[in-house]
């Protein structure tokens, strides 16, 4: 190796270092750019992940669960509103003869309780199961 060639090597190394430092600085200051760059690099990875059967299964299951729970909430709430709009007397009926508590009370509290219960079901399944599957997928597909 000649002296000049070695010098060029060192120059290139320095340039690369400077480039790296600049890039890091840019990363700190301009998050948008970093995002864009990651996006471009992810394309191939995206395709790999989308082909992963575990991923396909996960998104399908998660979408189905979310959709059914959302439909449940929509039916419960708009059903509640429609009863009030079209048949007020139904909710004004006592739950048992001689009682003051009407059907409207358990129905109303039922809707509130339902929102908490469905949220809890989804969050429990997602945090216990989905996150574990996602980690498995990423461990497999994202090579260091």
């Amino acid at each position: 190796m000649t002296r000049d060639a070695a010098l060029i090597d060192v120059q290139q190394l320095l340039k690369a270092c400077a480039g790296k430092i600049c890039e890091n600085l840019r990363k700190q200051d301009a998050p948008m750019k970093e995002e864009r760059k990651e996006g471009d690099m992810a394309s191939e990875l995206t395709q790999r992940i989308q082909k992963n059967p575990q991923y396909q299964d996960l998104t399908k299951r998660r979408d189905t669960l979310g959709r059914w729970l959302a439909v449940l909430v929509l039916i419960a709430y708009y059903g509640f509103i429609l009863v009030i709009a079209f048949d007020k007397s139904l909710f004004a009926t006592p739950i048992a003869p001689g009682m003051t508590t009407t059907w409207g009370i358990p129905a109303g509290f039922g809707v509130i309780l339902l929102t908490v219960v469905v949220t809890a079901i989804y969050v429990r399944i997602a945090n216990r199961e989905y996150d574990r599957i996602i980690k498995e997928i990423l461990d497999k597909e994202v090579q260091p």
């Binding site: 998050p31 509103i81 007020k88 007397s89 508590t101 009370i105 949220t119």
Partner: protein
Amino acid sequence: MRAMMQGILRQGRIFKAIGPGLVALFAAILPGLAWAADVVGETQKQATNWTAIGMFVVFVGITLWITKWAAKRTRSAADFYTAGGGITGFQNGLAIGGDYMSAASFLGISAAVMATGFDGLIYAIGFQVGWPLITFLLAERLRNLGRFTFADVVAYRFQQVPVRIFAASGTLVVVLFYLIAQMVGAGQLIKLLFGLDYIYAVVIVGGLMMAYVLFGGMTATTWVQIIKACMLLGGATFMAFMVMLQYGFSPEKLFQAAVEVKKSGAIMGPGGFVKDPVSAISLGVALMFGTAGLPHILMRFFTVPDAKEARKSVLWATTWIGYFYVLTFIIGFGAIVFVSANPEFLDDKGVLRGGANMAAVHLANAVGGNAFLGFMSAVAFATILAVVAGLTLSGASAVSHDLYASAIKKGKATSQDELRVSKITTVFLGIIAVFLGIAFEKQNVAFMVSLAFAIAASANFPALFLSILWRGCTTKGAVIGGFIGLISALVMTVLSDAVWVAVLGHPKGSAPFPYSSPAIFSMPLAFLSIWIVSILDRSGQAEKERQDYEDQKVRSETGLGAFKAASH
């Protein structure tokens, strides 16, 4: 620092120039006066309540001390917007509750229950049902895609400038209407509870809110919201407990006593709250989907480290908010029994002292004496502060992150510049809030909270929803459709009873838009517009955006490449 001060001064000068013009404008377009359930209406000034003021001073002391601590940790834009991303799911759940449970809903809904019984519950449920949808559709996807504001998510694969301008408009309009309603409510409430003049009350709220956000950013705001949520939930629990204790924890006995006092069983069933089915469903749509489009709520999902914590936070929020509405209902019925028939709380004409919204406050006195009354008054004040701080932070982020850093500087602004702009905006918003609070003192602001929800449901939510879940959505579609939703919700509200008759003073029955909420029309209109404009968009840019959807989808589902919490 000097640049910042100059900036503030410059802004101040502009403000002085346009200020009086704005007052005149608002005074001209918004005459009229009325009462409504969702904001605190006109009130009478009460004797100065030193217990309440003392407790409030303690609260302010603690929160300012936290702000001082938070200020040391707020060095970068990320600290300012997201508290460094290190908030836990449980803490964030409480803070979301603190953001969402306003004084207006505490006092307004308990008052509505006292007046109408079951109808108050219908209203409360509307505020509750949006949360599961946020969980299934948005929470983790938001966390995986965004960084500081919900616009980050909408703009993920779209052209930055138009989307940012749209999202910032959606944010600022919602924040401003919400903020005005809170400021006017704050002034009225504090006049009533503390016996302070309206103008001082508004200035104190504006000043403290500015201090929290300006110096402590998201860290201080979060802790103010957490403390407030604990105080509110604790106080309300005590009141509901004391009411139920009287009846051996039997709801049936409480209802019986309430019906006896009212001398009518009408409170146990639906009454006049739902007038026509269209209005009922429309209000339901606005409340349900509006919750999923409130910028200050969406922003909270960026303060947690990952999707798991984002889900936990929405579960805790749903639980606490649902529990809160149950308490509010019990408190309302307690007020029927202990307040509405008690001459101590009524004036000469047999009307509740201080106005209809005082139901919960008088009940606090009835079950816990003067010291507890002082405590609940301080809680109400703290509640307003926490809500307005969250709103201001969200508005400031829209200006500094979406407009300044992303649209104007194209992502090249330094963290320090961005931080400076957000602080200047905070000062500016604080001044605007105080000023509008004073300008609207005698106005009917009842429509503003429901308008904020309607706009959030018709502009922010459709754009966010379709950009995340529909591959075909394009920049043009999201921006044009979103603006159509925003403007149609605004116009229909102006043409409805709440503004046309109650505010503008047109004769009763002359409102061109016959329903009480526009959302059932404006939200589908926004969805339809986004869809049509997007499928008609055949440009190369649109094609690229559709291709980019795959990357976005994988990231939203897996969190791959999501922004990590900033470490200290």
